[in-house]
Every structure is written in structure tokens, then in C-alpha cells.
């Protein structure tokens, strides 16, 4: 199913007419209803496959000589640029979503989940509200904005895509929930004192960009339910053709090596159901089959050995004489 937005955009012919001089009063008034131009979705039942490219890179992006000490490598200041080539197996229609997937990363750990200050994120006046953020609450006696372990451990691998030596732009806006941007992360709250401590966790934030614009952070702050999770990195807004080879230049900065976490880069299209979700279909088929089977059993029972409904011979006193 495909839902297309109506072709008429705002400010169509109607608005032009309303400004015209009123010469003919019999002229029908324009409304979308009378002109039968109400916005509609036109379901066209076309099969749509979700195409997914998954690239696991956490080992491959460590130089061969450092593979014995991956943690040392990731913590060293050396250049961590890494190149990957991805082949598009099938045509991918835009938008193509770019995800990073981490594994064995406990974003749902209680210590981690609680380590944030929602007040501070929303309201510049509340920047001192860091009690929940321990141990990442203050640095040099000043409160950290945004404080807490979640923000501090912000994912900091970056990806750049090129196709045929042409840069494929990644749109990093609109990857977070609108309500988060509008209500939870203040438009006038700016990062302060962030990653200023002795230990640097993850990514730095752009100092002069308000938190509500730092969508990577907003996405990251929505903690995942399970230790394996995907988060949206950005959107590619061009179609990719089958056979296209996409060159990824990635900065392999994030330390998943201490806890043997996998890192994956995922490019995926979506359908109306979201991403690739075979399980749901299989589950429906199985349950449907089961229901069918049960109904078959009952039909057979009914045909072979029917019990007359309301048959008094099934009453307990008729079945075992000699007691109730």
C-alpha cells in the first residue's frame, strides 16, 4: 500500500480566485469539498519490499596490527577513519534510513536510565538541577549541560557516503520525535561544560547549537529497551539503484571494544509497517494456521461425535448414578 499525499498543494487556484474582483456573483464558491479535491489517500496495492543493508564493521575497522588490543586502539588518539563498500542488492527508494546498531550495550541499565536531568534539558534556568546525573553532574564545580551518563556517552561514530565519487548527502534533521524537539529539549538551552572532565565519554556537541537542534543527542537520549538496538543516524534522500556501490567513510570513534559490542551500519527502507519485520508476518501465519487447525478439529468433533447442546444426559447425576 502506498499513500500519496494529495497533489493539490496549499495556495492552488482557489486562493488566486479569492483575490480576483467579484464580477460574477453566480460563480460557485471554491471549496475543496465542492470541487471534490479533499485530501485523500489512494491506496494502491503494490508489493513493496523493505531493502536492508547491514554492515558490521567494529572489527574490520581496526587496523590489523591493533586487533590484539582493540581497546587500546580505540582509546588512542590516532586517526580512526575507515572505508567500507556497500553494494545495493535491490533498488532502494528514498527515503533510505541510515542506522547504527550497537550490541551488548545496556542503555536500559538502571544506573544509566536514571542518569539524566529532564529539567535541565528543557529549561535554561534549571541547569543546576543535576542531582540525578551523578557521577557526570558537574565538572570544575560547574554543572554540565546536558548532564548525566546518557548524554556523556553519546555515540560518536560518523558516516559519510559517496556513490560513484559523488557525495550522498545524509539529512540529519527530522530523525528525532517532533515532541522531543519542541518540548523536551529547550530551544534556548545550549551545551555548557560538556565533555570537559578528565574522562571524555562520547561525542562532543556543537557549542552554539541549541539542544533542540542537536538531533543525534535527542535520538540517543531515547534509551533503548534492549542491549541490542538501532538508532537513526540520518536519511538519504536519493534513490539507490541495484548494483550501486556505496563507499562509506566512517570515523570509528566509539568504544564498544571494552565490552565486546558489535557495531553495525544499517541502511534500510521502510514500508507502512516500518522496517524489515518478517517475524510479524510469520507469527500471523502461524496463529492463523493454528486457529484454522483448531476450528477444523472442532468441526470434525462436531461432525463425528456431536454433543447435543443442552443434552441432559451430560448432567452429573445422569452420568454417575450413585452420587451427585
Amino acid at each position: 500500500m502506498n499513500s500519496n499525499s494529495p497533489s493539490t498543494s496549499a495556495g492552488g487556484p482557489g486562493s488566486a480566485d479569492s483575490t480576483a474582483p467579484r464580477r460574477n456573483s453566480k460563480r460557485p464558491k471554491y471549496s475543496r469539498f465542492t470541487q471534490q479535491e479533499l485530501p485523500a489517500c489512494k491506496p494502491i496495492l503494490t508489493p513493496k519490499w523493505v531493502v536492508e543493508i547491514i554492515d558490521r564493521y567494529e572489527t574490520d575497522c581496526v587496523p590489523l596490527d591493533s586487533r590484539n588490543d582493540k581497546v587500546g586502539f580505540i582509546q588512542s588518539p590516532q586517526d580512526k577513519t575507515c572505508h567500507r563498500n556497500l553494494t545495493v542488492p535491490k533498488r532502494m527508494k528514498r527515503p533510505i534510513y541510515v542506522y547504527y546498531q550497537l550490541d551488548n550495550f545496556y542503555q536500559n541499565h538502571r544506573r544509566y536510565v536514571k542518569s539524566r536531568s529532564d529539567q535541565q534539558l528543557r529549561n535554561p534556568g534549571d541547569e543546576g538541577d543535576t542531582s540525578a546525573c551523578e557521577p557526570e553532574d558537574t565538572a570544575h564545580g560547574m554543572p554540565i549541560v546536558p548532564c548525566g551518563l546518557i548524554a556523556w556517552s553519546l555515540f560518536n561514530d560518523t558516516y559519510n557516503f559517496t556513490r560513484n565519487d559523488q557525495l550522498v548527502t545524509i539529512n540529519k534533521t527530522g530523525i528525532s520525535w517532533k515532541s522531543d524537539r519542541d518540548h523536551k529539549f529547550g530551544k534556548n538551552v545550549y551545551p555548557r561544560n560538556f565533555q570537559n572532565n578528565t574522562l571524555v565519554g562520547g561525542a562532543h556537541l556543537v557549542a552554539n547549537k541549541s539542544l533542540s537542534e542537536q538531533e543525534d543527542l535527542i535520538v540517543w537520549m531515547r534509551t533503548a529497551a534492549l542491549p541490542t538496538f538501532r538508532k537513526l543516524y540520518g536519511k538519504i534522500e536519493v534513490d539507490l539503484q541495484a548494483g550501486d556501490v556505496i563507499n562509506v567513510e566512517l570515523q570509528n570513534n566509539y568504544n564498544t571494544y571494552s565490552f565486546d559490542g558489535k557495531k553495525k551500519l544499517v541502511l534500510s527502507t521502510t514500508s507502512w509497517l516500518g522496517g524489515k519485520n518478517d517475524f510479524l508476518g510469520i507469527a500471523y501465519l502461524v496463529v492463523g494456521g493454528l486457529c484454522f487447525f483448531l476450528s477444523l478439529v472442532f468441526t470434525i468433533i462436531y461432525l463425528v461425535k456431536p454433543r447435543k447442546l443442552g443434552d441432559p444426559s451430560y448432567l452429573s447425576w445422569n452420568r454417575n448414578p450413585g452420587g451427585h
Binding site: Y106, N108, R110, T223, G275, V287, S316, N318
Partner: protein, 1223 residues
């Protein structure tokens, strides 16, 4: 007052022959030797001010049965609340939620607990308040007390002090235990009704000491002073030892002078008494035990389940903690993003044991949702509502007294559905203690055409059976049945015709006789008119009653010792022999013959009166009539009279015996009447001997008297027999019948004597003809053994063993046994070494009647049954003597509406009439049992389904104690989102409607058999919960964990997953309850679907509000989940998968192994009962075929008998001739 004076002229002492022979104790014995512990009470009469200080300050007359008072309520009630393990656990959790350990916010732990405990306490407070109001009603009753200088004034009961002189007037209750000083009768006797104490309805005579007799009016108390030394307060009702020091003399006191609180002054205008024991010191209050708090079987089983869940909770908490320790120790150092180590030691890999310990506490709180916190409070709410419905049941409302049923404690509603044995009091419960003269047999012919209920019903039932057969069967059998029908009609002709005449003139109390042959003087035309005349004379002369003239109407009423006697007198009056006058030595009878206009009054001189005792079982008067003829008139138990008939007095014996048997079978109380004519010489010789015996002094006087009277009561001539109906309460036989069909055993425990009890057994169908009676009685002969007690015991044991043997050897399937045992025997039978044999015998008998039992024994029997059989017992009674039994039984039911509130106050349920018990048990009990059972099972199911998902999530969150759900969801889960459907299940569920419950009492057996709360069912539900939790968790996780769930590419965060999962839970458990319910009204629909809707409404609101409450759930539904089709699809999938196994299970159960209520539901649904009424009736009769007692069983037995007779007749007759007659 005038009446009092008139009556005082008769010295009762000369009337009560035996009692007056007893010499006054004070003449023979000296004062009691009162010393030592237990006899320290000192009462200064008429000087209550001396009792204001210690040590003579005794407790006040204020009584209180409340559990709390204003000050103690809070601590005590809170203590009560937290005695429940689950509540204690939640209290600890609430306290800990204030610390860092808690996985939840404090408010989400404290709010539900406060709600739950507050609600329960409010209920306690309300119940206690009601008790207080009832106490105050008693405490504020007014009594007339001497206020000094010979002036009496009213004072509330609670203000009465020890030493006060109290004046009690007729039909008032005694406010405390009193010493009788004087009464309106010259000889200082008074009549007391002790119904509230021991349930005995006959009046007891109390007699004041001679010395205090002069204190007979108010003024004499001006200067009255005396001292009483007596025993300390004790619960023994029948003993009292004390001395009265008065005028420098010491007089001994015995129980004969003591008037006990809660007994009632009868037939005496007023008495004066001194207060000896007040309030809780009084014997009644000492007798009352603290009402034990009762808990139902289901609740006790529920506790076990809660313990199981606790163990599960602790178990998974340990697993979590171990998992946590392992993870923290091994993995956490590598989780740099958590910045280990933790200074607070909550997540410190360097000290994993300490963190592990903290985590254990966290886990115990986190998985607390396994224990349904709202279970108790939901059950309480449900029970209160159930109780409300019982109270409001219009079918349990007594129009006459205007009392509805009252569930006084709502704890036991479901226990009503599991009753196995009913222990019932007799007087006031089964019977209304009123006798109706119904039939008589005079000179060998039976009079009285009114049929007893049993005869009527047998006729009806047979007619119905024949009718049913003739419709369905082949012509041949139709002919047969036609014959049978005709025959039965002949047999029962008298019965059937008499039903037409039910419309009668206004009923006369005590007289239901109907036979035109005797009424209106028609007896004169009967062949044996002279015998009939004699019969009427015996009725009007041979008694000890006193006539009383109603001054307004001039009618006579009779004050008799027993209700039978007054019914005889009423009957005699109706026949035209009105007993109108009694003097010291004469009896006046106004005789009315139809031939004369004016009644003629005859006077009979009473020469002697030989009293009725339970041992003699007869009474006689010797009178001289106006012609000088001396007559002995005697009435008594038939067996005794028949033994004493002279050779020529046996003319009517055979016919009378036959009639007596018929009467007995009909449940009537029978007495035989006889007379003999005495020659003057014969009489004077005897009289001399009698007075010699009378005046003799010594222990054998009684025996001598008996022997002498025995000599006289011989060679009697039988006149006839009377049949009196001990009027049963309305609907009692039908109710007992239904209860018997429901498989309940009924024991009658009564203070009455054995014969009375047996008669009642017959009339209320607990006994029937053809039932084998096993009577166990102690042999009274004091044998010469050294140890008489031992020999008595051996004897009883032998009787019990014989009885058991008899039952074992019985082969007839229809045979039924009845056990009748008296109080004295019971004392032995209840001893430890014998009680099990006794119980085993009793359990094998269809009905058990215990007579002459004391209140204490009633309680003991109840305990024996309760503990011995391990089944649920229900005790029902109306008087204070039943209180012990009511409290001891699993369920106590009090009959309200009659006088005396003690039984009701001690009871758990109060109903106005015995017959309401049927509805209370068979309808309400049945429903409540099923409701509560289903409700508890469902509760466990839903909490397991929910609680375990939290646990599974832990395994994916490094056991860190994080919950996937938002605190508020969890808070609302039990309290709001799933509570109303389950409450509606608990309050409104009906498997079949009340009418069907009553028609198929056999359905009740599902309760005592515990079909709905046995372990297999409970475990089944738990497994279902486990399954549901697995499905909900894993399906959601697999669907949501990594892939984008929206076309916009967003992936689900923890809140989204949690909310989706929670939505699935809400749907699954609500659909589950919808599947469980079988009775859907708009209320259930509203609650079930309303709960689901509430969840979405809540999500919308919470999503809007929560930018301040909780960041993550902000706009969770409107922005994140609702636009995602996968969210809805998943909900649908999970709900179906969760409920599929249950659906399959109930479908299979219904198709292969339907339970009774399933089939009846179907019959009702397809209206088969309307299509085929015979099937419905047939099933109804089949459902009860096994009952051995009750009305139906009796009717069946009667039908068997009649059919047997018919068979015989049929074989003699030639069939065609009968058919032609019929057509």
C-alpha cells in the same frame, strides 16, 4: 395490678404438687460455708455507694461487644491490617521506596497501599460502629431502680450498680443478675423465661427467701439493709452459692433465688431484686465468648497461594540478584558508559556482594506485582457489595416483621457456598413454639380432616407423576397408569378433597381442627357421644393452666406451662367446654350444649394433681364432680398410657394405635388420654398413703411419691388420643427439603426433651416413617459398680458400635438412618476417647438430632463436627443459648425478628426466617463461592502475567532493576486498569440464574466439592498466567527490539516498547476476563471495555501531561504509537495468542466434559425447558434422587408405600373392570 391480685389468691404451691413437697432448703440446711478463693464477692444491698471504691468496686453494667474504641481504633486497626503478610510486605516496600534502592518512585508504592489499607480500615470502622449502636441500644434500656427513701425511678441499664434494688415488671428483661427479694405473688415466686440463656421455652419458677417476702412495696426499701457474700463471677448458669446476712441472721442462697440477666419476667406483675453481678460479670456475659474472627476456607487457601507467590517472588529475586552479581562483577567493569565504580555501592563491581544485597531488596520490590496488592481490597469491596445484594434481596425480606436479611460480616460470603453440615436450633428456629390442635382419635374413630403437609404433597406428586407417564408412554402403560392414578385418587381422596377447603374462618391460635362431626355440638350425634364427652372433659380439666380474662373483650386466655396444654384448652373451648375458673381446689368448666341456650357451669373439686415430669411422661388429676363421682383423668405419652390400661379399657386400643401411628408419621405430637372411675374407699386409702409420702422426710421421698402415684395410675380406660402440630415456622419443611436435595446434612440440636425433638424431626421431615432410628441414651440406673461413670461410658460406646454395625450391614439402598442422642449421653460421647466413634456414626446417618443439650454442648458438638469432618459447618439459631454454637461454627446464622438479639449479635448472617436459609445458601452462597473463586484465580493469573514480564525484562537489562514500564502504568494496573472488571465478575457473575439454582439444588454441590478452587484449577490459571507473560513479552520484544516500527524510520525506545507491551497486557487480561464471565450485563461490558478504553484515555492524558511528570512518555500514544500500524497489529496478535489456549480449553471442556451448569445454561439458552417441560421436571427429580431426608424423600417413601399397596390390589382386581369404571 388487679390481675396480679386475683392470681395471687391462688397459692401456686398447692397446685404444683411435686415442687411444693420439696422442703424449703433454709429449714434443713444451715448457711453455706463460704470461704476461700472463688467466694470473695461481697455485696452491700441497697447501699450501692459502698461499691464505688476498691476493693468493692465491681465492673459497671455497661456492656460492650465492639472490637475497638476511639482511642484504640487507629493502632489496633492498623495492627490488624498489617497482620496480613501481604500488607506487611507492601508496607516495607513503601518504606524502602523512599531510599535509593527503590526501582520506583515513592508515590507509586505508597499511594496504592494507603488506598488499600484505608479502605479496609474504613470498612472495619463502619462494622464496629454498627456494633456500638447495638450495644448502646441495650445499655440505654431503662430499668426502675431504688433511688433512696423508698422512691424508685428509671435509670438506664448501664448506670445500674451492684447493690442497687431493682424493680422489674412483667415481660421486662432483667438488667443484671439479681437476687429475688419478693414478687407480686404472696409467696414470693415468679416465673422466668430463660429462652435467651438456654433456649428452653417453658417457664421456670424462682422463689424468694421467706425472710425477704415482707419487702413487697416500694416504701419498704427505705431502711432495707443486708449483705450478700457469694461466689465470684463465673459462667456457670445453673449454680450459685451465697449467703444473705439480714437482720443478724445468715440465710443460704441457691440458684432458685437468682434472676439472670437477659432472662425475662413472665406471668408475674413485678419483682424486686438486688443487683449482684453487673455487666460483664453477669453469668450471660461470662458465658459469651469473644466472637472469633472467622475466615473462609477460600481465603485460607488463598493465603497459601500468596505464600507460594511469595516464594516465587523471593526465588526470582534471588535469581535476579545472582544474575546481577555476576553481571556486575564480571561485565560491569567493562561498561565504561556506566562509569564504574559507584560510590553508593548500588552498582559497584568492586563490592558485588553489597550491591547484590541492595539489589535483592530492589528486586523484591520490583517483582512485587506478583503479589496482588489490590487482591485483599478488591475481595473486600466485592464482599461488601455481595453482602449489599443479600441485604437487598427481596426474597429474603420478611414482610411480617419487616426485617431484611443482614450479612453482618461480609468475610464469609463464599463460605456459604461450601456448607456441608447445618446445625440447627429447634425452638424459634424450626418451630414457632406454638401448638395447634389438629386431629384427635376418640373411641377408635379418627376426627380432624385437615391434611398435614406431607399428605398433600404426596398426593400432588403422585398425580403429577401419573400425568407425566400417561403423556409419554404407550397405550398399554397408559392404561396401567390410568388404573394406578385412579387407585391413588381413591387412596388419597380424603386428602385431596380437604385441600379445597383451605379458605376458612379466621384462624384461632392453637386450633386448626376441622371436622363437622365434632364441631358445633354435632358430636352428640356421634355413636360414642359419652366417650367424646369424657374426652372433652379430660381436655378441659387435666392441666395446670390458669385462665386469664381479657378485661376489654371478656375473652379467656390461658397461661399454661407448655404450649400443648394451652392448645388443648383452646380446643376444649371450641368444642364447647370452656375452662373458666380455677381456685385453690376447684376447676370451673362452662359447658355448652347445643340443646341449651345458656352454658351451664360445672365445678370440679381437684383432689390431687400428679405432676408431669419428663420421667413420668404423664400427668393426672383426681377430681370429684358435682355428682360426687371421683375420677382420675390422665394424659400422657401413648406408650406409657397403653401400659397402664385395664383389661376392659383396651377397647379402642387397636384403632387408636393405628391412628397414633398415622399422626406420628405426619409429624404430629401425640398424647393419649385415659380415665378411671374411683370408689371413695379406694381413693381415701390411697390418699392417706399419698399424704404420708408427701410429708415424709428423707432422700427417698421422691421415689416414694412416685411409687404411690404409680399405684394410682393403673387400670386406666383409654378414651382417645390427641394430635397436636408443633407449628413449624413458615416454609421450614420445604427449606429443609431443598437443603437436603442440595446435599447438606442437617443436625438439630435442641434443649427440648427427646420426644419433642423426635416429633419435630418428623414434622420437618428430618425423620420419616421407615427410617431406622438409632437412639442413644445413657442408662440411668446407678449400677453397683465402683465406677458408675465408666460403666455408663462402656454402655454408650456399645450402643455407638452397635449403631455403626447396623449401618454397615444394611443393604437396602433406600434405607436411611437417624441418630438421636440426648444431652447427658452427649457429655460422654463428646469426650476425647469416644468422640470419633460418635462422629463416624453420626456422619453415616442421614439426620442427627441431639436433645437436651446445653448451650456449651451445642458449641462442643459444632466443634466436633467442624474439626472432625474438616468440612464447613453452619449453625443457625435464634436465642442466646445458640450463641456458642453460632460462634463456633464456620458460619453462624442468627434468626432476627424474634425477641432477643444475642444470637443475631453473635452471628455472621442474620435472616428473619429459617426458610430464607435456602436462598442464602443455594443462591447467594453458590454464586458467591463461584464468584470469589473465579475472581481469586483470575487475580493470580493477571498478576503473574504482568509481574513475570518485569522479570523477563530484567534478564535483558543486566538485572539492574530497571522496569520497562513507566511507574504510573504499574501503579494503575491493579488499582484502576484491571480492578473494575474483576470486581464486576465478583459481584455480578451468575452461572445460572437464581430460579435455576433453586430448582437444581444439586448444583450447590459444586461448592462443597470445591470444584472451582481446587489446586488443579489454581495451577491451571497460574500456568495460563505464565504462558500469557511469555507471549506478551517475547512477541513484543521480537517485533520491536531493533527494527523501525514506523514508516518514518524511527526505532522503538524503551518507553514505546513498554507501552506497547502494557497495551497487550491490558487487552489480554481484559479479554480473558470477558471469556471467563458467563453473565454479561451492560455493567460487565462497561467495565471490561471501559477498562481498555481507560487505558487509552489515560495514555492520551498522561502523554499530554507528562512533560512535567515523566519525559519519556510524552505524547507516547498520540505521536509515537497510535500512528504506527504495527502497534495495533501487534496488540491484536498478542491478544489472540494469549487467549487462544483458554478458549480451546473451555471449548474442549464444553464439548467433551460439560459441567452441570454448562448443560443447564444450554438448556435455558435453547429454551429446551419450555419445549419439553417433562425433561426439566425429570431432571429436577433426578438431581435429588439420592436424598434421604426432607419432604421429598418422605413423599417418595410414601409413594413407594402406596405403590406397593396398589400393586397388591391390582393383582387382585381384574383390569378391564377398573378401566371401565374409570372411563
Amino acid at each position: 395490678m388487679t390481675r396480679g391480685r386475683i392470681r395471687a389468691k391462688i397459692r401456686r404451691s398447692s397446685l404444683y404438687t411435686f415442687s411444693c413437697y420439696r422442703p424449703h432448703p433454709s429449714e434443713e440446711e444451715g448457711p453455706h460455708d463460704i470461704q476461700g478463693p472463688g467466694y470473695s464477692r461481697l455485696v452491700y444491698c441497697n447501699q450501692p455507694h459502698l461499691h464505688e471504691q476498691k476493693p468493692l468496686k465491681y465492673c459497671t453494667n455497661y456492656i460492650s461487644t465492639t472490637k475497638y474504641n476511639i482511642i484504640t481504633f487507629l493502632p489496633k486497626a492498623i495492627f490488624e491490617q498489617f497482620r496480613r503478610v501481604a500488607n506487611l510486605y507492601f508496607l516495607l516496600a513503601a518504606i524502602l521506596s523512599l531510599t535509593d534502592v527503590s526501582p520506583f518512585s515513592p508515590v507509586s508504592m505508597i499511594a496504592p497501599l494507603a488506598f488499600v489499607v484505608g479502605l479496609s480500615m474504613a470498612k472495619e470502622a463502619l462494622e464496629d460502629w454498627r456494633r456500638f449502636i447495638q450495644d448502646m441500644k441495650v445499655n440505654l434500656r431503662k430499668a426502675s431502680v431504688h433511688k433512696g427513701n423508698g422512691v424508685f425511678g428509671n435509670r438506664p441499664w448501664m448506670k445500674i450498680r451492684v447493690g442497687d434494688v431493682v424493680k422489674v415488671e412483667k415481660d421486662q428483661f432483667f438488667p443484671a443478675d439479681l437476687l429475688l427479694l419478693s414478687s407480686s405473688y404472696e409467696d414470693g415466686i415468679c416465673y422466668v423465661e430463660t429462652m435467651n440463656l438456654d433456649g428452653e421455652t417453658n417457664l421456670k419458677v424462682k422463689r424468694a427467701l421467706e425472710v425477704t417476702l415482707p419487702l413487697e412495696n416500694d416504701a419498704t426499701f427505705k431502711n432495707f439493709n443486708a449483705t450478700i457474700r457469694c461466689e465470684d463471677p463465673n459462667p456457670n448458669l445453673y449454680t450459685f452459692i451465697g449467703n444473705l446476712e439480714y437482720d443478724c441472721m445468715v440465710y443460704p442462697l441457691d440458684p432458685g433465688q437468682i434472676l439472670l440477666r437477659d432472662s425475662k419476667l413472665r406471668n408475674t406483675a413485678y419483682v424486686y431484686g438486688i443487683v449482684i453481678f453487673t455487666g460483664h460479670d453477669s453469668k450471660v456475659m461470662q458465658n459469651s465468648t469473644k466472637s472469633p474472627s472467622k475466615r473462609s476456607r477460600i481465603e485460607m487457601q488463598m493465603d497459601k497461594i500468596i505464600y507460594i507467590l511469595f516464594s516465587l517472588l523471593v526465588f526470582i529475586s534471588f535469581i535476579s540478584s545472582i544474575g546481577f552479581i555476576v553481571k556486575t562483577k564480571n561485565d560491569m567493569p567493562n561498561w565504561w558508559y556506566l562509569r564504574p565504580p559507584d560510590e553508593h555501592n548500588l552498582f559497584n563491581p568492586k563490592k558485588p556482594e553489597v550491591s547484590g544485597f541492595y539489589h535483592l531488596i530492589t528486586a523484591l520490590m520490583l517483582y512485587g506485582y506478583l503479589i496482588p496488592i489490590s487482591l485483599y481490597v478488591s475481595i473486600e469491596v466485592v464482599k461488601v457489595l455481595q453482602a449489599l445484594f443479600m441485604n437487598r434481596d427481596i426474597h429474603m425480606y420478611d414482610e411480617e416483621t419487616g426485617t431484611p436479611a443482614e450479612a453482618r460480616t461480609s468475610n464469609l460470603n463464599e463460605e456459604l457456598g461450601q456448607v456441608d453440615t447445618i446445625l440447627s436450633d429447634k425452638t424459634g428456629t424450626l418451630t414457632c413454639n406454638q401448638m395447634d390442635f389438629l386431629k384427635c382419635s376418640i373411641a377408635g374413630s379418627a376426627y380432624g380432616t385437615r391434611a398435614s403437609d406431607v399428605e398433600l404433597a404426596a398426593a400432588k406428586q403422585m398425580a403429577m407423576d401419573m400425568d407425566g407417564q400417561s403423556k409419554n408412554s404407550t397405550p398399554l402403560s397408559w392404561q396401567k397408569s390410568g388404573i394406578a392414578f385412579g387407585q391413588s385418587e381413591i387412596e388419597l381422596e380424603t386428602v385431596v378433597t380437604s385441600t379445597d377447603k383451605l379458605e376458612r374462618k379466621p384462624a384461632i391460635k392453637g386450633f386448626s381442627f376441622e371436622d363437622s362431626r365434632l364441631m358445633n355440638g354435632n358430636w352428640l350425634k356421634e355413636p360414642n357421644a359419652d366417650v367424646i364427652l369424657l374426652f372433652f372433659r379430660i381436655l378441659s380439666i387435666c392441666h395446670t393452666a390458669i385462665p386469664e380474662i381479657n378485661e376489654e373483650t371478656g375473652d379467656l386466655t390461658y397461661e399454661a406451662e407448655s404450649p400443648d396444654e394451652s392448645s388443648f384448652l383452646v380446643a376444649a373451648k371450641e368444642f364447647g367446654f370452656e375452662f373458666c375458673k380455677r381456685t385453690q381446689s376447684t376447676i370451673g368448666v362452662r359447658e355448652r350444649y347445643p340443646s341449651y341456650q345458656q352454658p351451664s357451669e360445672r365445678e370440679y373439686k381437684v383432689l390431687n394433681l400428679l405432676d408431669f415430669t419428663s420421667k413420668r411422661k404423664r400427668m393426672s388429676v383426681i377430681v370429684r364432680d358435682e355428682t360426687g363421682q371421683i375420677l382420675l383423668l390422665c394424659k400422657g405419652a401413648d406408650s406409657i398410657i397403653f401400659d397402664r390400661l385395664s383389661k376392659n379399657g383396651r377397647m379402642y386400643e387397636e384403632a387408636t394405635t393405628k391412628h397414633l401411628n398415622e399422626y406420628g408419621e405426619a409429624g404430629l405430637r401425640t398424647l393419649a388420654l385415659a380415665y378411671k372411675k374411683l370408689e371413695l374407699a379406694e381413693y381415701s386409702a390411697w390418699s392417706e398413703e399419698f399424704s404420708k409420702a408427701k410429708t415424709s422426710i428423707g432422700g427417698d421421698r421422691d421415689a416414694m411419691l412416685e411409687r404411690v402415684s404409680d399405684m394410682m395410675e393403673r387400670d386406666l380406660i383409654l378414651v382417645g388420643a390427641t394430635a397436636v402440630e408443633d407449628k413449624l415456622q413458615k416454609g421450614v419443611p420445604q427449606c429443609i427439603d431443598k437443603l437436603a436435595q442440595a446435599g447438606l446434612k442437617i443436625w438439630v440440636l435442641t434443649g427440648d426433651k427427646m420426644e419433642t425433638a423426635i416429633n419435630i424431626g418428623f414434622s420437618c421431615s428430618l425423620l420419616r416413617q421407615g427410617m431406622k432410628q438409632i437412639c442413644i441414651a445413657a442408662t440411668n440406673e446407678a449400677t453397683l459398680d465402683q465406677d458408675p461413670e465408666k460403666s455408663v461410658k462402656e454402655n454408650i460406646l456399645m450402643q455407638i458400635t452397635n449403631g455403626s454395625q447396623m449401618i454397615k450391614l444394611e443393604k437396602d439402598p433406600h434405607a436411611a438412618f437417624a441418630l438421636i442422642i440426648d444431652g447427658k449421653t452427649l457429655t460422654f460421647a463428646l469426650e476425647d476417647d469416644m468422640k470419633h466413634q460418635f462422629l463416624n456414626l453420626a456422619v453415616d446417618c442421614a439426620s442427627v438430632i441431639c436433645c437436651r443439650v446445653s448451650p456449651k454442648q451445642k458449641a462442643l458438638v459444632t466443634r466436633l463436627v467442624k474439626e472432625g469432618t474438616g468440612k464447613t459447618t453452619l449453625a443457625i439459631g435464634d436465642g442466646a443459648n445458640d450463641v456458642g454454637m453460632i460462634q463456633e461454627a464456620d458460619i453462624g446464622v442468627g434468626i432476627s425478628g424474634c425477641e432477643g438479639m444475642q444470637a443475631v449479635m453473635a452471628s455472621d448472617f442474620a435472616i428473619a426466617q429459617f426458610r430464607f436459609l435456602e436462598r442464602l445458601l443455594v443462591v447467594h452462597g453458590h454464586w458467591c463461592y463461584k464468584r470469589i473463586a473465579q475472581m481469586i484465580c483470575y487475580f493470580f493469573y493477571k498478576n503473574i502475567a504482568f509481574g513475570l514480564t518485569i522479570f523477563y525484562f530484567e534478564a535483558f537489562a543486566a538485572f539492574s532493576g530497571q522496569s520497562v514500564y513507566v511507574d504510573w502504568y504499574m501503579l494503575l494496573f491493579n488499582v484502576v486498569l484491571t480492578s473494575l472488571p474483576v470486581i464486576s465478575l465478583g459481584v455480578f457473575e451468575q452461572d445460572v440464574d437464581s430460579e435455576v439454582c433453586l430448582q437444581f439444588p444439586a448444583l450447590y454441590q459444586q461448592g462443597p466439592k470445591n470444584l472451582f478452587f481446587d489446586w488443579s484449577r489454581i495451577i491451571g490459571w497460574m500456568v495460563n498466567g505464565l504462558y500469557t507473560s511469555l507471549i506478551i513479552f517475547f512477541l513484543n520484544i521480537i517485533i520491536f527490539y531493533d527494527q523501525a516500527f514506523r514508516s518514518g524510520g524511527q526505532t522503538a525506545d524503551m518507553t514505546a516498547v513498554g507501552t506497547a507491551m502494557f497495551t497487550c497486557i491490558i487487552w489480554a487480561v481484559n479479554c480473558q476476563i470477558a471469556l471467563t464471565m458467563s453473565h454479561f450485563t451492560w455493567i460487565q461490558h462497561l467495565f471490561v471495555w471501559g477498562s481498555v478504553t481507560t487505558w487509552y484515555v489515560f495514555l492520551v492524558f498522561y502523554g499530554e501531561l507528562s512533560s512535567t511528570l515523566d519525559e519519556n512518555a510524552f505524547k507516547i500514544l498520540t505521536e509515537v504509537l497510535a500512528p504506527a500500524p504495527i502497534y495495533w497489529i501487534t496488540t491484536l496478535l498478542v491478544t489472540i495468542v494469549c487467549n487462544l489456549p483458554y478458549l480451546a480449553h473451555i471449548s474442549f471442556q464444553r464439548s467433551f466434559n460439560p459441567m452441570d451448569h454448562h448443560v443447564i445454561q444450554e438448556i435455558k439458552y435453547y429454551k429446551r425447558d419450555i419445549e419439553d417441560r417433562h425433561m426439566w421436571k425429570r431432571e429436577r427429580s433426578k438431581a435429588r434422587q439420592e436424598t434421604k431426608i426432607g419432604f421429598t424423600a418422605r413423599v417418595d417413601a410414601k409413594i413407594r408405600l402406596l405403590k406397593g399397596r396398589l400393586q397388591k390390589k391390582y393383582s387382585l382386581m381384574s383390569a378391564p373392570s377398573v378401566i371401565s369404571q374409570q372411563t
